[in-house]
């Protein structure tokens, strides 16, 4: 079954040429971006057969339609060769033409369900395999045909077998986004309690946990009826389990943690009331996990695909912080460790994944905006200079970093002199000249706060040619910027005149 011990290019795409794969990826990326804009971002997962897993070679599928019909006839006759025919059917059903042919045949699904619920265990496994192939189809009518089997699939979730359960889960997960009607039906059939009990029974098997996480994430990504889904999930034991599976396993890898993290992210960002999740330790666990992952980065053990876990963890922390009391933040040391971890990620992902670096900066902004202790931590952990060095980088990173520095200046005025010594004022003399209006505005804000702290800062600024910089800014396009610059110029001039008197 499908595993993520190591992310590698699946040759399922029949592309051994690396360039073709790249092209395929780029095309798919474009399609996904458009889908996201249309609020239609869904994906399905297809399990590979074990032999495909092992050899890395996808089997060739036989030609479709005729085989479907003949196989179904053979299966109807029954007999000892059912397994062989079912296996052949599952391979044939990978083709879309065969899938369409299948659902057109009378009683085909009825037959399959019969085999699914029959006494032959191997046939059950193969029958669910067939359903899984059908569920993966992008064709709505094909996938919807599987609904006849879902009550059984849900019942099987509370069973003990793992392989079988996994396939059931991924099949259900693929069906969730097919349509609103399908989703409603699944909810009515009790998919959420079924997932919860499956988790309770099979939590020792990470492959199943990953599958549960995937299926749940498919439900939580839905836009319709999301509040209903969330309240059902929160009533169950699922959130507690999700929180407990955020650590990658040394053997199994990242797979389960990734799915659980994304589920939590969807839970957090789709609702405003986070007290339940906070009570179950979501913020603490995610923060601790980020700290642990950053340790791996520092030691050079950055795992392939770690960003897939770091990303949802960051988002969970970033969006939970507003709901957390600052007293709770300050009394727990994990958050000062988190400050360091975030700076590690900033450096690590700056060039390879700028959007992830930006999200990291966002979380750090929230931390420093919220907690004065975290502001101090930035300074005491010698993170100010690395942050200042990020100020030239655009992609929205420098504006966020400047906000972080502004937070520190605002909340820890006594540290301003130190910040100036570390080069903040010189950096501002550069950022004030940038084309990015947000950078200029923030720079003026920070400058203003720094100038208020001491006359030495004022003198230092003047020494660095600050007066002429401000004069130039008085010609800026934006009124707000001009007003701020003029205000500062007046302030400075006032002081200068006072000195000459």
């Amino acid at each position: 079954m499908w595993r993520l011990n190591k992310i590698h290019h699946k040759s399922r795409w029949h592309q051994h040429n690396i360039d073709e794969l790249r092209l395929r990826r780029r095309e798919q990326e474009r399609a996904l971006r458009q889908a996201r804009r249309d609020r239609q971002l869904v994906s399905k997962r297809l399990l590979l057969y074990e032999e495909e897993e092992q050899t890395g070679v996808t089997m060739e599928t036989a030609s479709g339609e005729q085989d479907v019909v003949s196989l179904l006839l053979k299966l109807q006759r029954g007999g000892t060769e059912k397994e062989i025919h079912l296996k052949a059917l599952s391979k044939v059903l990978r083709e879309s033409s065969a899938q369409l042919s299948f659902i057109k045949q009378e009683n085909s699904m009825h037959l399959l369900v019969g085999l699914l619920t029959g006494s032959d265990a191997q046939c059950r496994l193969l029958a669910v395999r067939c359903l899984h192939e059908l569920s993966y189809s992008p064709n709505t009518s094909v996938a919807s045909a599987c609904m006849a089997a879902t009550p059984y699939l849900l019942t099987f979730l509370s069973g003990p077998t793992t392989k079988f359960t996994e396939t059931c889960l991924y099949t259900l997960g693929n069906l969730c986004p097919v349509s609103e009607a399908v989703k409603e039906k699944l909810l009515a059939q009790g998919i959420i309690p079924a997932l919860a009990s499956c988790m309770e029974n099979q939590r020792h098997n990470l492959a199943v946990v990953e599958a549960i996480g995937f299926t749940l994430s498919q439900l939580l990504q839905a836009t319709g009826a999301i509040q209903k889904i969330i309240s059902m999930v929160m009533c169950s034991s699922l959130p507690t389990y999700l929180v407990s599976f955020l650590t990658p396993d040394s053997e199994f890898g990242l797979g389960a943690a990734i799915e659980c993290a994304w589920c939590l992210h969807y839970l957090v960002c789709s609702s405003e009331d986070h007290q339940e999740l906070l009570a179950r330790g979501a913020l603490l666990h995610c923060s601790a996990e980020l700290v642990s992952l950053s340790g791996a980065v520092t030691q050079g053990h950055k795992e392939d695909g770690m960003e897939l876990l770091v990303c949802p963890l960051l988002r969970i922390v970033g969006n939970l912080l507003p709901s957390c009391l600052v007293e709770d933040l300050d009394k727990n040391t994990v958050f000062t460790l988190l400050v360091d971890a975030l700076c590690v990620f900033l450096q690590a992902y700056l060039s390879s994944s700028p959007s992830l670096a930006r999200e990291t900066a966002w979380v750090l902004n929230n931390l420093t905006a919220h907690s004065t202790e975290c502001c101090s931590a930035v300074v005491t952990l010698n993170l100010v200079s690395p942050l200042i060095q990020l100020l030239p980088v655009s992609h929205g990173i420098n504006t966020m970093v400047l906000r972080i520095l502004a937070n520190i200046v605002s909340k820890k005025k006594e540290l301003c002199v130190q910040l100036v010594q570390l080069g903040l004022l010189s950096a501002l003399c550069s950022t004030l000249k940038m084309a990015d209006q947000e950078m200029v505005t923030l720079s003026l804000d920070v400058l203003y706060m720094l100038l208020l702290t001491s006359p030495q800062v004022k003198e230092e600024f003047l020494r660095e040619g600050g007066a002429s910089i401000l004069e130039i800014i008085q010609y800026n396009d934006e009124g707000e910027i001009r007003r701020k610059a003029s205000y500062l110029v007046d302030q400075l001039l006032l002081t200068q005149q006072q000195h000459t008197v």
């Binding site: 795409w13 996904l32 995937f214 940038m434």
Partner: protein
């Protein structure tokens, strides 16, 4: 790339413990009584699911689900840096580093003649320019003695006419013979009198700018063929050194809410 939207929470003051600045005020953007336009306060940002900032991460997540994910950086966009604009109005140059911007500014916008607003490449050439173009005494002396100084520093030779100097530059200093020396000195307006617009016809150069050191001027000229006297723009000469010379035309007759921007356009000057 869109900027993050900030969603200040209504009860943030309870959560932030920051009693000094009420964050909700920041979103109102009102000016307090004393006209202080500054109102920064730390903002906790909540991002909703569909936010632009989440786009890349979502895409990677789905590429992963579809077995197309790679952590190789080859598909990643290259890191971009914030740009620095030239602040001279009309000059739309952008630079990716402060050093580049400063080089540009020094090369093209410094050493501006306060009489005719022309930009000279160096202080020395500015001096020569002022002397030859705006000094009435020079004109008088030039009738009787060699006044036209060779433009190449260190040469020191002087010539009776501009043409002689030009020939010298071509012959001795190997300036290209096709260099555009057309100077319309006779069309220059009256010299002297600060604040007078110099109505000098400038022939717009073709794009092949001569790169010879020092001789080629980039003109920053507001008036050329526009009759801007009607606007009665009085160009104030600043006492400040040239590098601070950011001309701010002040209008006596009109009351403007905003200070007028100096109008600059880039044209190639002839020498």
């Amino acid at each position: 790339m869109s900027r993050p939207e900030f969603y200040p929470l209504d009860n943030i003051s309870a959560a932030s413990g920051n009693s000094e600045h009420d964050p909700t005020e920041a979103s109102r953007q009102q000016l307090p009584e004393d006209g202080n336009p500054f109102s920064f306060s730390p903002q906790i940002v909540r991002l909703h699911r569909e936010h632009d900032m989440f786009e890349d991460g979502d895409i990677h997540r789905h590429l992963y689900l579809q077995d197309l994910y790679t952590s190789e950086a080859e598909d990643r966009t290259t890191l971009s840096v914030s740009e620095f604009p030239c602040h001279i109005s009309g000059c739309s140059a952008l630079f990716s580093s402060l050093g580049e911007y400063e080089h540009h500014y020094n090369s093209l916008h410094r050493n501006v003649c306060s009489s005719c607003r022309r930009c000279l490449p160096s202080a020395r050439l500015l001096d020569i320019h002022i002397q030859e173009w705006h000094d009435s005494l020079f004109a008088v002396l030039a009738q009787k003695q060699d006044m036209y100084l060779c433009l190449v520093e260190g040469c020191g030779q002087k010539f009776r006419t501009e043409k002689q100097r030009k020939d010298h530059l071509i012959r001795i200093h190997k300036y290209p013979p096709d260099f555009r020396f057309d100077k319309l000195k006779k069309e220059r307006g009256n010299k002297g009198g600060r604040g007078q617009e110099q109505k000098v016809k400038v022939i717009e150069a073709v794009n092949d700018v001569c790169e010879s050191e020092g001789v080629c001027e980039v003109l920053c000229n507001p008036m050329s063929d526009q009759p801007e006297e009607e606007e009665s723009m009085e160009i104030c000469e600043k006492e400040a050194p040239l590098m601070e010379d950011m001309p701010s035309p002040v209008q006596d007759s009109e009351v403007n809410a905003l200070p007028l921007k100096p109008q600059y356009s880039s044209r190639l000057v002839l020498f």
